[in-house]
């Protein structure tokens, strides 16, 4: 079989697996644009792991599939096309590779299996209040006392902290040196004394991010990754590995499909023809942009395969999709807003319509604001692009 045929066969195999083995109730949440939590992710990870597909991006010797970038891309695409959740990233894509590269044997033995099986749930303690995109300005302090660090400070935007077991955390261990040079990466169990997790209520009405307060939390030195004060290096390693994250445009296409179906259903009446045609035209423009982004994603995968530098591709991808997905969300809001935005949260526990149909479109519109803010805001991405283009 040549490579093209092999890839086609692989695609078919993944599709068959996704459609037959991912529980319908989990796919239903994805299909409804719902919010995913550990409740959906953990069982799905167990199923993938049992099939040997728990870690597409890890080397085989650590329980990964050993797939190349092309296969990983196909895997991600097909999962999205089949309304399966994307894999939960904090353990598999973020911490795992760092552990594999920089962890001690003990750390690997302790933490990798739980990530693979979905038993241990991780979250990322990077951002802090007032830091925004300027990550290196973080202030959470860790003071060495014997074989422990005593950690005090506050993290913000900590996704999933309310359902996680562990947090990999950047802390400041030296305030005297250049900002990037005094940072250390620690693994902290969230049930440690001195930790308090508080929900940050976000505009979408879902609970996904938190503040995490650390008050003299004692963390064994054995939970430090690599060297003290080298945390920035590991954090950067992690972010660099994430640069292909935008290459998978398939979830955006599914979102577009759903929005198109919504428009057709909501605006079927003849009196709504004018509005429907406006929204259909806007959907076409959005689809065109997504198609362009999909091709850029493919080119990025091929660049990795060929060992070429990605250059501006991650920024191109993010700037090509983040706005577009927001615009799709806005089209949906225009379609159903009048009926749904007026019924955001039930006040009375019972009665008709306590569950509001299509409310997820309003939640998604709000939630999607984050697309152009987090993970390098659009403004930061444009700075990156301009710097490269102007050479200054």
């Amino acid at each position: 079989m040549d490579e093209t045929a092999e890839l086609a066969a692989f695609r078919a195999e993944v599709r068959d697996f996704a459609l037959t083995r991912c529980p319908p109730e989990i796919r239903a949440v994805v299909a409804a644009n719902g919010k995913l939590g550990r409740k959906q992710w953990a069982p799905w990870q167990r199923i993938l792991h049992a099939h040997g597909w728990g870690a597409p991006s890890w080397p085989k010797e650590h329980g990964g599939t050993g797939w190349d970038q092309r296969r990983r891309h196909i895997f991600d695409e097909v999962l999205a096309e089949c309304d399966c959740p994307p894999q939960y990233h904090h353990g598999l894509r973020h911490l795992g590779p760092v552990l594999i590269a920089f962890g001690t044997e003990e750390q690997k033995a302790r933490f990798l299996p739980g990530i693979l099986s979905g038993e241990d749930w991780w979250c990322q303690g990077y951002s802090e209040p007032g830091a925004g995109s300027d990550l290196a300005s973080l202030k959470t302090r860790a003071v060495r006392e014997g074989e422990e660090y005593v950690v005090t400070g506050q993290k913000l935007w900590t996704s999933h902290a309310h359902e996680a077991d562990w947090m990999y955390t950047l802390v400041r261990t030296n305030a005297e040196v250049k900002r990037q040079e005094g940072i250390t990466l620690l693994l902290i169990p969230l049930d440690a004394p001195g930790i308090r997790v508080r929900e940050v209520r976000t505009i979408d009405g879902w609970h996904h991010v938190n503040e995490v307060f650390l008050d003299a939390v004692r963390v064994p030195v054995a939970n430090r990754i690599g060297e003290e004060n080298k945390g920035w290096t590991y954090g950067k390693f992690l972010l660099d590995r994430e640069r292909l994250g935008g290459a998978n445009v398939a979830p955006a296409f599914r979102f577009l499909d759903r929005c198109r179906a919504l428009v057709a259903r909501e605006l079927a009446a003849p009196g709504q023809a004018l509005k429907r045609e406006q929204l259909e035209y806007r959907l076409l423009l959005a689809e065109a942009e997504l198609r362009g982004a999909r091709e850029l994603g493919r080119a990025a995968v091929e660049a990795v395969m060929a060992g070429e530098p990605l250059g501006l591709m991650p920024s191109e991808l993010k700037l090509s999709t983040a706005d577009t997905v927001q615009r799709i969300g806005a089209i949906a809001l225009d379609a159903v807003g009048e009926r749904v935005a007026s019924r955001f949260r039930p006040v009375d526990a019972s009665g008709p319509n306590a569950e509001v149909e299509d409310i997820e479109w309003v939640q998604n519109f709000m939630y999607l604001r984050a697309k152009t803010i987090f993970g390098g805001s659009n403004e930061v991405q444009k700075n990156v692009v301009a710097k490269q283009l102007f050479g200054m």
Binding site: D134, T202, F344
Partner: protein, 336 residues
């Protein structure tokens, strides 16, 4: 000195409504559960009625203040500047317009004894004085009592406690309370069989005052955005010094000023066409200002507790009240 938006209709009414709305927001900010917020809103609503605002547009001989559109708009502007989460426009402006020529009901309204929600959007049918059907997301006083229901050109008054009438309450994205009404042959009182003109006028008044509220909210939101950017540092520099953000704020400001112009024209000459254009533009300009305010607030813009977020959601919601931009465009094109 930081930017301070100037009101269109300055004066005592504006200031009183603004103070009321700011106090309301401060209290509500401490409450998260919808039921607790609804209870607090009920208390605030009683206080609002105490101030006599329900009678602002009611003639003096019916016990009202006999105020003008501009008097009412000044209240709406003050309330809007802090995104008041109470149905000021629906109950105190749209309802009395529907009840014009009904002195007894107007008197009840002015006295705060009649607190109707207003159902203009269709979906209800009438047969021999009994109403059936659903109306979703209808703005309501905290304790629902009555509904004014338009069924084509006819206007009915419905007691929500009557048999055949059921409802559920929700919070809107802007924190106001709404009803989902389920009517199954609920008996109602026919107030007028041929009220088409006054229903249209009432809807237009609602649309215009929604614009007034939104314009006021946009002014406050722009001020808060500027304050935030002045105060917030990143990479060692005030965000306010980045030209890309400065230009964005300039665009927000111009969009707001332009919409203000449309609203002022519609207040001076409150004709259907002027109102439709203002509401159409609110859809574009309001959405832009709300989205960009969230964007330039960065992560903070995603949090529900931030006052700017509350204002942004109020502005987004305003577009959907009394006919969204596509409804306005459709009627403007039909009239051409």
């Amino acid at each position: 000195m930081a930017f301070e938006p100037k009101p269109m209709l300055p004066g005592d009414a504006h200031d009183a409504a603004r103070r009321f709305a700011e106090a309301s927001a401060t209290t509500l900010a401490r409450l998260q559960e919808p039921a607790a917020r609804a209870a607090e809103l009920a208390v605030q609503w009683d206080a609002l009625l105490e101030l006599g605002w329900a009678g602002m547009l009611v003639p003096e001989d019916c016990g009202g203040a006999g105020g003008t559109l501009l008097d009412m708009a000044a209240l709406a502007e003050g309330a809007g500047s802090a995104a008041l989460a109470l149905p000021l426009v629906a109950v105190c402006a749209v309802a009395p317009t529907l009840l014009a020529g009904q002195p007894l009901l107007l008197a009840e309204l002015a006295a705060g004894r009649l607190q109707p929600c207003v159902v203009l959007a269709g979906g209800i049918t009438a047969e021999t004085g009994r109403l059936s059907g659903r109306a979703l997301g209808v703005e309501t006083p905290p304790v629902p009592g009555h509904a004014l229901v338009a069924v084509e050109d006819a206007l009915y008054l419905l007691d929500l406690g009557t048999a055949g009438a059921g409802f559920t309450r929700h919070e809107r994205i802007d924190g106001r309370l709404t009803l989902d009404l389920e009517l199954q042959g609920a008996p109602a009182r026919l107030l007028a069989a041929d009220a088409g003109a006054s229903i249209a006028r009432a809807r237009d008044l609602g649309a215009l005052l929604s614009c007034v509220e939104a314009v006021a909210a946009m002014g406050t939101l722009i001020r808060q955005t500027i304050d935030y950017l002045l105060q917030r540092q990143q990479f060692g520099t005030a965000l306010a010094s980045f030209q890309a953000l400065r230009h964005r704020v300039a665009e927000m400001y111009v969009a707001w000023r332009n919409l203000t112009g449309l609203v002022q024209a519609a207040l001076r000459t409150p004709e259907e066409r002027n109102i439709a254009f203002a509401k159409l533009r609110l859809g574009e300009a309001g959405r832009f200002v709300a989205e960009q305010a969230i964007q330039v607030h960065g992560g903070m813009g995603m949090t529900e507790e931030l006052p700017a977020t509350r204002l942004a959601r109020r502005i987004l919601m305003a577009e959907f009240e009394w006919g969204d931009r596509h409804a306005q465009a459709a009627r403007l094109l039909a009239a051409a």
